[in-house]
Symmetry: C2
Subunit: 360 residues, 2 copies
Amino acid sequence: MSYPELRHDVFLRALLRQPVEYTPLWLMRQAGRYLPEYKATRARAGSFMGLATNPDLATEVTLQPLERFAFDAAILFSDILTVPDAMGLGLSFAEGEGPRFAHPVRDEAAVARLAVPDLAKLEYVFEAVRRIRSALDGRVPLIGFSGSPFTLACYMVEGAGSTDYRTIKTMLYQRPDLLHRILQINADAVAEYLNAQIDAGAQAVMIFDSWGGVLADGDFQEFSLAYSRQVLSRITREAEGRQVPAVLFTKGGGHWLEAIAAAGSDAVGLDWTVNLGEARRRVQDRVALQGNLDPMVLFANPEQVAARARRVIEDFGPVTPGAGHVFNLGHGISQFTPPESVSALVETVHQHSRRFHTPA
Amino acid sequence: MSYPELRHDVFLRALLRQPVEYTPLWLMRQAGRYLPEYKATRARAGSFMGLATNPDLATEVTLQPLERFAFDAAILFSDILTVPDAMGLGLSFAEGEGPRFAHPVRDEAAVARLAVPDLAKLEYVFEAVRRIRSALDGRVPLIGFSGSPFTLACYMVEGAGSTDYRTIKTMLYQRPDLLHRILQINADAVAEYLNAQIDAGAQAVMIFDSWGGVLADGDFQEFSLAYSRQVLSRITREAEGRQVPAVLFTKGGGHWLEAIAAAGSDAVGLDWTVNLGEARRRVQDRVALQGNLDPMVLFANPEQVAARARRVIEDFGPVTPGAGHVFNLGHGISQFTPPESVSALVETVHQHSRRFHTPA
């Protein structure tokens, strides 16, 4: 399959720590409920999974934020739970609630039944990637993604979101062997899944470790990071004659930054509790950094949004040769965000960051 | 008021980094729903606030865990929201839900009305302290406590618990002046409140900054830590001829550990995401450390609980002269915890820690 040539690669270059003229940005969950046009498409789809599994509608919502904002990347519209769904766990979304699995994986028998899913069941995802690439027509690169092996396991074992992760942690402390088996299957599945997204046309990939940060020190390294590292070692790093950069985001992973940065990704995503300047000193520019404005800043007025965005750029500091910064929020954008705040953010980042980049 | 002499001060000495023979322990929320006897008293009280505001019943539940377990300290049974309740915000607890305020503080007018409450309204707390001290009869020291100024403000502004802290963060980003006024009033109130607990007989005090960890780097220091520091600088440090140690606990505060340790407390409470050995190197034994087992470990079997408890003790390492460790969980004990796990924990900590202490 051959796609139109990429005309705007500042995002990919920043992830690879190559010179760029300004700091690129995109936002986690940029195709989402804060946009009225998203809500309209979502209503036509009938349900969230109806939207996520329809390649035409997924393409439509992936491109929506690019019509409003000068984002430097698009991200595949999908859900992080597509892989466990394809494993047969029975994913559903009750209105106004989070995801739920009909068949959570909680005992030895359920773990024994678990297997890497047939990727044919995820064809709707790869078809969406192909249609989005065609529709993007080279405007900006497309990011593919997956939940981390541990984050997927959280939902698979808990059966739903959790506040204390009691079920998966009971397994971790009582039957670490079972959890390791789940995580190995997840790592195999995630590696295949990301590679199939890259084969279909994803130009960068991101692993979301949304829940690794709830683990104790020591357990994070053993049950979360080790499996993300495996995935990173197995994904394709070149396609269409270009490098395919990989980003690893760990919510609440600030104190493990050195270890996360050594896990094999090109860039590390950070939440807002970390100071970007300190983070940069700690990783010594061995990886690019992505982040890290508090999504709640977007509830302030546009001048305040701009001031806070400037502070993030200044915290990172001059983007010297060999350094890389991609601006993002520290977590997904809130559904209640006023779109005007996003306009103020995009303009500030693109303008204010120019003085921090060395002309090539 | 004169109380029976304290016969067991290992907890106070460990907080003050004085020599002890073993590592003392107590558990956050040790008087609580995991104990059937607590549930029975709670049922007699009719409601949670009925229990918290009745000094006789508060005394009863404070002492219950000491009958079962060899804890080295008792902690006043109360709620962290007594102070905003006394400010007239109308606290209630709906069954099965968290706390709720009828009159949240969200605008300039509400902030203008806010004032340090008349401590007479909190007399039920001080009376509970007095009765508990008498009932303890010198067995173990009694810990008084308060929410931090910022954590109280979270509830006061949000009006209830929150997942994204959107309301208080909108105020923080849009009207930092209003939030600073609330925090100053809270700091004044918390200092008076803790001093009144000490006057009544509390032998150590703890500030719970349960939500400071949701703030961005920079904001944590300005909106949370600065006000906890104020409180710490104003509380009485001696009573009944003894030092009254103060502990500052910040959930999710791991990356700010050096700053937290310099805020004026004798000890710093840590959650389980931090490695105690690393934490100790970072603070260089300038403060004692309290923590930090994941409360979910208590859902494993007794041998596994013991192994994990030993690991925490070993992570801290030898308790050399000038160092101090108080064992605790990294957060409150879960209501679903089997009490047998607590027995295994207490025995392990008391026995296994002896070899890590230098004989006096």
